[in-house]
């Protein structure tokens, strides 16, 4: 019974991965199509490939009607010129490819969640007791957060990044981390496993989203710095660098709060399980490092001359530390958190 369920779970994981690949391709095609759209829009506007015109025509229609700009630390929301009529209909709803990408992502997530649930039923506990399960649940949550965030902001352009990341992580997990279902060791049998690890996974999801935005911000900064460049045209359909910067910050703030909670919940659990709330165990060290890096990011953003590209780099360093903490520290470092199951 248990083995059967675990096997079905793996089959579902593979199915989800296949659908994620379709979603990824659709999102990538959407990006390619956006380049074409920008050119077309620019031609329609009678202008040469002038960026500003392109941004106004397509970008404005696609994103919100207002754009936040940053002036001396104060966010001022400014209305953007009304979208031209020709960009109205289809662009506002996203391209066909984008819609296919979103639909496929949702379908993949359904399969993915089913796989997570089956694994949990097979193990008769929360499905994040070892590294494979952590990856499985973590990627599902990253995708879920990506989908939910769309209700707040149109961040569909991150679809390429998020589905790509999910495919890679799931690939690594199924190939390298897969272990059969085994019961939890006594040290993990605590309700703190539910709280501490779940919050950590959720925090990781927001950090992933923030990293995607930071990348977009850096590319956008690069592109905006070279006004006459015809390269990276699709970026004209994305929010501008300042707006991306604000979005990165807000997503990462949520991640930071969750990470703070992870840290504290971890300390409380460590006190119960090991008799001390903090002992500079390797995993504790890296959780601390990540916290400090993102604290640094928040400070960098508030430091004159650091807002923008520089703080985006810090956000990426933070996410690199998150990935390092998850992969390298779990597998190769010796410590009390040796729960990889490998």
């Amino acid at each position: 019974m248990t083995t059967n369920l675990a096997t079905y779970s793996v089959v579902l994981t593979y199915s989800a991965m296949a659908v994620y690949v379709i979603a990824f391709i659709s999102f990538a095609l959407d990006m390619a199509k956006r380049s074409g759209e920008v050119t077309a829009a620019a031609k329609n506007a009678g202008a040469d490939s002038d960026d500003a015109a392109a941004t106004a025509s397509v970008g404005a229609a696609r994103s919100a009607k207002t754009v936040a700009t940053v002036r001396g630390g104060t966010v001022v929301l400014e209305p953007v010129a009304a979208p031209p009529a020709n960009a109205g209909g289809s662009a506002a709803r996203g391209t066909k490819f984008e819609r296919v990408g979103m639909a496929m992502t949702i379908l993949a997530l359904v399969l993915h969640v089913a796989s997570v649930v089956l694994r949990g039923i097979a193990a008769d506990r929360v499905p994040w007791g070892n590294m494979f399960e952590f990856s499985l649940t973590g990627t599902a949550l990253i995708t879920l957060i990506f989908l939910l965030v769309q209700f707040w902001q149109n961040l569909k352009f991150l679809g390429v990044f998020i589905t790509g990341l999910t495919i890679i992580l799931l690939g690594i997990a199924t190939v390298n981390y897969w272990v059969p279902v085994v019961p939890l060791q006594p040290a993990l049998q605590s309700y703190w496993l539910v709280i501490h690890v779940f919050v950590a996974i959720a925090g990781t999801g927001f950090f992933a989203l923030g990293a995607g935005l930071a990348v977009a911000q850096l590319v956008q900064t690069y592109r905006q710095g070279r006004t006459a460049s015809g390269k990276l045209r699709f970026m004209a359909t994305l929010p501008d660098a300042d707006r991306l910067e604000v979005l990165t910050y807000r997503v990462l703030l949520v991640g930071f709060v969750l990470w703070t909670f992870t840290l504290i919940a971890g300390a409380v659990w460590a006190e119960r399980a090991w008799g001390r709330y903090w002992g500079w165990d390797t995993k504790e060290v890296w959780t601390f490092i990540i916290w400090v890096v993102y604290a640094g990011y928040i400070h960098a953003r508030a430091t004159r001359g650091w807002r923008g590209a520089r703080s985006s780099w810090l956000a990426l360093i933070g996410f690199a530390a998150v990935m390092f903490n998850f992969s390298v520290v779990n597998v190769f470092f010796k410590g009390l958190h040796s729960y990889s199951g490998l």
Partner: protein, 569 residues
């Protein structure tokens, strides 16, 4: 504040009186004040002040934060003395040349090293230097009234204007001036004040306009967050010195008394005194491990460790309770944690003269997941020669093709004890302390084991076997379980937890409470015949405030509908 005609100056935060004060290089800060080219030479005090300003600047804080993250890395790459002392010993053996250099650099004590401490202490000095003046400033800001309404609101965030004229009125509204058929400007201002006040704004009236500000909690939260971090550091640094940790191995049936002498090892804090130990006894009645028996992928994996203990505090009654992993026992002001377990051998040794020379339980240390355990039996009282034995214990013995034994399962299904026996001087009288888990075989003669004519002695529980050369006999009376306990007392723990919680609350308020100003203004129309006027609404963000426009719109909506005026779509 003097009234200004330029809203831009207002908007960029020139009215520093109620601005949260920040270091000069903060994006919301005042900017470099004296950036002149011909700066006068700084005196000693001037240099100090310059240094202080540098230390408390955002850039320095950022730099120190990054440095702290970097400095924490080595401690995760190299074993630490506090967390993994055996790892350090191993590292020394493996990296003979690198070890002394790293040790000199205090890498094996990264988190108490001079350089790591220097970084975090500087960071905290910088932090305190930043929050003290800010707290003072914020205290004053809390008592300052909202600033005067800017003359022109048009360029501020969320600006909108609503015409109050006869055709904009919704029928059947109250509060209407009888002669004009419109709400009086006086009424409009009063209502705006009431609505803003109800929404948590601090409200001030300036003529025909209302100036309102909210979100002072944002700065309060920020200050609380940072101050609580200082609290955490102090609680850890100072409070930790009053505690202690001790380890004790306890075999079933044995009793441990909470006095210094009965600990196997003891690490007192800086200010620990022996009188801090409250007297109590703790007896291990029983220890049981539950094993996985059905899942073939995890056969023999421990599912649960459960110790039954009886504790008796001085002058109190004895209570029996369960002690488990993730389930510590609170007794006599200490927490007792179950951290390890193993098998102890109950053996009796008779010497060559037939006298009982040794009768005790000897704990063996587990070596693998199936609890193959090793231990040493030292019999200094044996005559004519002292006896030493190196033992292996297999809870479920199974013979390999090579003839050696191994344990196939962690539970005692087929327990077997094998012993190599040595005779000679154990060296216990030399005064040099020895480990009870190792036998120094130098100068000893093996009489049973691979290096002798007789094979190792193998015993099942209950069996007695003669030792070679008439050295006596050994009886394996049985196996008992033992647990290794950690006893902790840390009076600062609650403080650390409280400060951590406080800092989280501070963080949440500082990040998610928006600080903003909102203005509502009555602008009379020139030459209005029937007392028509326009209502103007606008806001200003103080720091991050993504919802400002919506908030202004909401206030406008509520105000106009309260007045019975139709909002233009």
């Amino acid at each position: 504040m003097s009234p200004r005609s330029d809203p831009e100056t207002e908007a960029t935060g020139a009215d520093t009186a109620s601005d949260p004060q920040r270091p000069s290089d903060h994006v919301d800060g005042s900017g470099p004040g004296d950036a002149g080219i011909n700066q006068p030479k700084l005196g000693f005090v001037g240099s100090l002040r310059f240094f202080w300003r540098q230390l408390t600047s955002m850039r320095t804080a950022l730099f120190l934060l990054m440095l702290l993250a970097l400095a924490a890395i080595p401690g995760s790459l190299v074993p630490q003395r506090t967390a993994d002392p055996n790892g350090v010993v191993q590292y020394k053996a493996d990296h003979a040349t690198l070890y002394p250099i790293l040790d000199k650099l205090q890498v094996f004590d990264t988190y108490t090293s001079v350089w790591f401490s220097a970084i975090y202490l500087l960071l905290f000095v910088s932090l305190i230097g930043c929050i003290v003046p800010r707290t003072k400033h914020h205290w004053q800001a809390l008592r300052t009234r909202p600033p005067r309404t800017p003359v022109r609101l048009t360029r501020l965030a969320g600006f909108r204007t609503v015409a109050v004229q006869p055709d904009a009125m919704i029928d059947g509204t109250t509060g209407i001036d009888g002669t004009t058929g419109l709400p009086s400007s006086e009424h409009a201002v009063t209502r705006a004040m009431a609505i803003l006040k109800r929404s948590g704004y601090r409200v001030e009236r300036f003529g025909d306009s209302v100036s309102a500000e909210r979100g002072y909690l944002r700065e309060t939260g920020n200050l609380v967050f940072h101050a609580a971090l200082v609290g955490v550091l102090l609680a850890v640094g100072v409070g930790g010195g009053f505690g202690f940790t001790g380890q004790r191995l306890l075999v079933e049936g044995q009793t441990f008394s909470n006095v210094l002498g009965s600990y196997d090892s003891f690490n007192p804090g800086r200010w620990f005194q022996q009188t801090d130990l409250k007297g109590y006894n703790l007896t291990l009645d029983k220890f049981v491990t539950k094993y996985e028996e059905r899942n073939l992928d995890a056969l023999g994996q421990a599912l649960d460790y459960s110790a039954t203990v009886t504790s008796k505090e001085k002058g109190g009654e004895s209570t029996t309770s369960r002690l488990g992993v993730n389930d510590p026992l609170h007794v006599g002001g200490t927490n007792v944690y179950l951290l390890g377990n193993g098998y102890a051998m109950n053996v009796t040794v008779r010497d060559g003269e037939g006298n009982v020379a040794f009768q005790d339980v000897v704990p063996f240390l587990p070596e693998d997941a199936n609890y193959t355990s090793t231990g040493v039996i030292k019999v200094p009282d044996a005559l004519p020669d002292q006896l030493g034995m190196v033992g292996f214990f297999y809870p479920t013995a199974s013979k390999l093709a090579s003839g050696a034994y191994t344990s196939a399962y962690p539970d005692t299904q087929n327990p077997l004890l094998t012993l190599q026996v040595y005779t000679g001087d154990l060296g216990l009288d030399s005064g040099v302390p020895q480990s009870v888990y190792t036998l120094d075989t130098k100068g000893l003669t093996q009489i049973a084991g691979r290096q002798s004519d007789t094979a190792s002695i193998a015993l099942e529980p209950g069996q007695t076997k003669k030792l070679p050369n008439g050295a006596g006999s050994i009886t394996f009376d049985g196996v008992k379980r033992y647990v290794s306990l950690d006893v902790h007392h840390d009076p600062s723990q609650a403080w650390v937890a409280a400060f951590a919680l406080l800092s989280t609350l501070g963080l949440l308020t500082s990040l998610f409470v928006p600080r903003r100003r909102v203005w509502v203004k009555v602008v009379p129309r020139k030459g209005a015949e029937h007392g028509e006027y326009d209502l103007e609404y606008a806001g200003l963000a103080r720091g991050e405030d993504p919802n400002l426009e919506r908030a202004v719109a909401d206030i406008a909506q509520r105000h106009t509908s309260d007045l019975g005026v139709r909002m233009p779509q």
